[in-house]
């Protein structure tokens, strides 16, 4: 089965991002396909490269980057949600004269059209609130 996933919560506000992560790992293990993970609303905080946490905290950003690398999962961060929260992606960081962008490895920035496309192509769409 083909799944599309949306994540709306930041790593610390609820554990729904981690639930999504576990769901995706389980789905892949059962040979299902995950077409796209779309990070929306507070979910964009999963993608911050420079949020360096204490070692004993849950390292969601690193987990996603690793998952993207190992399983070629498409991790998309919503551009409008990101801009509203000050996350700088490549073009915007340059435009603002910053030394680097905020997006962690394995994530890419794009628009709501990518969410819609994923919901249309998937057999199941699941939102983790």
């Amino acid at each position: 089965m083909k799944y599309a996933i949306q994540i709306n919560a930041s790593p610390n506000s609820t554990n729904s991002g981690y639930c999504a992560y576990q769901f995706i790992k389980a789905a892949l293990k059962m040979n299902h396909q995950v077409l796209r993970v779309f990070f929306y609303q507070e979910g964009i905080y999963h993608a911050l490269k420079y949020s360096i946490l204490p070692d004993d905290e849950l390292q969601m950003t690193k987990k996603w980057s690793k998952l993207a690398k190992e399983q070629q999962i498409d991790l998309v961060v919503c551009i409008s949600a990101a801009q509203r929260r000050g996350l700088l992606f490549d073009d915007e960081a340059k435009r603002q004269g910053k030394l680097d962008q905020d997006l962690a490895e394995g994530f890419r920035i794009s628009g709501l059209g990518q969410l819609l496309e994923a919901t249309l192509l998937a057999d199941r769409f699941i939102e983790f609130g």
Binding site: Q6, Y40, Q41, S80, A81, R84, L112, G113, L115, L116, T119, L120, L121, F125, E127
Partner: protein
Amino acid sequence: MIMKKFLFIMDKPPHKGIELQEKLDVILTAAAFDQKVALLFLDDGVFQLKKGQQPEKQGLKETASIFNALNIYDVNDLYIEVDSLQERGLRPGDLSLPVKEFYRKDVNVLMAGYDIII
């Protein structure tokens, strides 16, 4: 283009940060993709349509103009859970748009008619 039927569940109060604005963005995107879009207002989401709100005074953007523009995007199916409305002391006349009334016991039947429930 694939066509699916989307039912958006509007269950959050209107001025909880920018959550509603971002939900409306998804709704408009789905409509712009020529999908069949309907909205179901329930729980505190029924306040989203209450007339005469002034969120600007609290530093929040108003959403009434987006709701009013939905028909331009061919989003005309606005459902409301009557029980939620009554529990909050509201009547359909207090709302800024005409809505179709649904009782809580029938909401599952409504949902069954949609492909994607967000």
